[in-house]
């Protein structure tokens, strides 16, 4: 036993000392704890894809210049001998890189140019894969170069996929979703009137109180809003939403618009439950994961169906109890720690009531 070392106890008496444990008057105040203002967070994410694309564009330019101007240096770095044919290949690759770089940096259609970069990566990888067969090749350096290019290729593909979603014109979103969208649905019955349920939902900026993947929703005008959410692996994704349906007391629907990192459409409908049990809240989300089936598999790791159901249960708790129920295991918003009391840093309690 380690008496006296426990917090909250008076070491001399060994008794519990309630005065040291004041009840926080607002135990459930919102606290993202990341120190970002809403506006700051929005700017960072809105710029995210563009910044990544710009960086990749400049990388192309730098590599292209080097391939053309200093092929010997580069060949040595890659672990291959800079003979005549190698220099020719590097010159061709350099021209390609400069074209891709200029395209990414100057064009508005960045996705297409990023895909061209990704295709170039494939060519580079194929050439390097053949390199060890050459005489005097330094296999260690070549392997390192292959690893680096593979990583850059992954970054190209991901950025291109997100950019493609962002560049989808408004009038093409519905068609894209119809063709490639994944649909999830969930429903919950809440002891309230359809009007009250609708009103609580229509307050879009308050949605993060129960939709815990959302970091912030900012209403920009009567029909438009900007949403920020936590994406796979803690990344941040954002989208612009436009209300496409708004029937007070009955339903709300929205659709993402140009500049969205996630193409999706959502609809929530409120209907009276039988027997005066309150309101059935039916929610439907259709989204197009970046990268098609691969992206869908990644998205499923985030368990969107389970998240949607948990969101709706939190909505029910907010209406029926006035706050979201927190257990020791879900203190940070997801079940990621033991069912054991915790002293978490201020602001980490993920409750939004």
């Amino acid at each position: 036993m380690q008496q006296g070392s426990e917090s909250g106890r008076n070491p001399s008496t060994g008794r519990y000392a309630p005065v040291r444990r004041t009840v926080r008057t607002q135990p459930l105040t919102a606290g993202d704890g990341d120190g970002e203002t809403q506006d700051g967070a929005l700017d960072v994410t809105a710029r995210g894809t563009r910044q990544r694309a710009q960086a990749l564009g400049w990388l192309s330019v730098a590599l292209g210049v080097m391939e053309i101007a200093a092929p010997q240096v580069l060949a040595q770095a890659l672990g291959i001998k800079a003979d005549r044919s190698t220099r020719r290949i590097l010159l061709a690759c350099g021209v390609r890189e400069l074209c891709a770089g200029a395209g990414v940096l100057l064009s508005d259609k960045k996705a297409a140019w990023l895909w061209s970069r990704a295709a170039g990566d494939v060519v580079d990888l194929a050439l390097l894969a053949a390199a060890p067969a050459l005489k005097n090749a330094d296999k260690t350096r070549t392997a390192a170069a292959i690893t680096a290019i593979a990583a850059i290729a992954a970054c190209d593909v991901w950025t291109a996929a997100i950019a493609a979603q962002e560049e989808t014109p408004d009038d093409a979103v519905a068609g894209e979703l119809a063709a490639h969208g994944q649909e999830i649905r969930a429903a919950v019955t809440v002891a309230t009137s359809p009007k009250e349920a609708y009103d609580r939902w229509r307050d879009l900026e308050a949605l993060p109180r129960f939709m815990w993947q959302l970091k912030a929703v900012t209403v920009t005008d009567a029909k438009h809003s900007r949403w920020e959410a936590t994406g796979p692996a803690g990344t941040s994704i954002g989208w612009n939403a436009e209300l496409t349906e708004d029937q007070p007391g009955r339903s709300i629907a929205w659709c993402s618009r140009a500049g969205s990192e996630l193409l999706h459409a959502g609809r929530v409908a409120f209907t009276a439950a039988p027997g005066g049990q309150g309101t059935e809240v039916h929610m439907q989300l259709t989204y197009e994961p970046p990268l098609g089936p691969v992206g869908a598999a990644v998205a499923r790791l985030g368990m969107p169906q389970e998240q949607l159901e948990a969101d709706l249960r939190r909505f029910k708790q907010l209406i029926e109890l006035g706050e979201v129920v927190i257990s020791d295991a879900t203190i940070t918003g997801r079940d990621e720690r033991p069912a054991q009391p915790a002293h978490l840093p201020k602001g980490r309690v993920r409750s939004k009531s």
């Binding site: 036993m1 380690q2 008496q3 070392s5 426990e6 917090s7 909250g8 060994g14 008794r15 519990y16 309630p18 444990r21 009840v23 926080r24 008057t25 135990p27 459930l28 019955t189 002891a191 049990q277 309150g278 368990m303 389970e306 159901e309 948990a310 249960r313 029910k316 708790q317 029926e320 109890l321 006035g322 706050e323 979201v324 129920v325 927190i326 257990s327 020791d328 295991a329 879900t330 203190i331 079940d335 720690r337 033991p338 069912a339 054991q340 009391p341 915790a342 002293h343 309690v349 409750s351 009531s353």
Partner: protein, 394 residues
Amino acid sequence: MKANCWMGKRDVRVEDVPEPQILNSTDAIIRVTSTAICGSDLHLYNGLVPSMRAGDVLGHEFMGEVMEVGRGVRTLKVGDRVVVPFPIACGKCAMCAQKKFSVCENSNPNAWMAKPMWGHAGAALFGYSHMLGGFAGGQAEYARVPFADVGPLKVPAGLRDDQVLFLSDIFPTGYMGAEMCNIQPGQVVAVWGAGPVGQFAIASAKLLGAERIIAIDSLPYRLEMAKKHAGATDIIQNDKEDSLEALRELTGGRGPDACIDAVGMEAHGHGPAYIYDRAKQAMMLQTDRPTALRDCILACRNGGTVSVVGVYGGFIDKFPMGAVVNRALTIRAGQCHVHRYLQPLLQHIENGDIDPSFVVTHHMALHDAPAGFETFMHKRNHCEKIVLTTAALA
């Protein structure tokens, strides 16, 4: 503070953990004075309940003194002595309104986890896996109790902890098991399992007017307790005699009017069927061993009731559905809606109709919890019920 934590299969340890704090406005913090090890804790101990995580604080039978209340708490005051029901219920949802507290719709933040196995989730329980909420339990010096105005029952100073502690679970659970049998005068009730819940099922069947109560178990000391203290009129030691034969004999061939399964998912049995069940459970081909439940169904009188209060977690095999349908049996089951039984059962205790402390065979200090689990698991020293006290730590 000290708390008994689940660290893995057959591994519980008393660890230093942070003290609980108010997280929701209707929380209370309780200084635990007494807490018990439940038979259902052994299912956790044996690693048969999914969604446990190393470090989970165990314990769902506890009582103590209110140290702190959230700003939304109205009826509970600092200093109140309370016993806490093991299911966590919000008191406001449709199920709570129907007094079906153990299936509260709001208390379980991890409801999604239960869906694949159960279709829907029940209420959260203290210290009983993440799919049941991920709430720290009461085998600790302090515990956070959500919905403090809904669950905790204030208990009079004149009653000892041992007399009221079991209102948290096993007394109401046994009582509900008997109540679900809808006992009529002159009826015969058979109770499988003379563990603590079985003892209270027997005692409750007596309170509810059963004429004969038959206790079935393999441990003679438990059967003796059932007969001496709980009120069983007959006993069957089911490893010495065929319980179905013996029941037919004892009931003139009719079978008991009602059968209560107070055993659950880790039944002991004998013969090829038992070996089959153990093997399937070990290979994860079934999660639960339904030996007692099968016997309940086969033994029950035509048109009778089978009442299940032993804990089952998942799936069972060789369920005699033919008997249920062709003999018009009624099956009733549930985690106990403890909240609805607190007042009436406290009244029985105050009236002296029953003294629940008769089941207690061991008192231990909280820091001896791991030894307690060992003792209870292997039924050493005629162990029936272990109460852990924090007094030694204060």
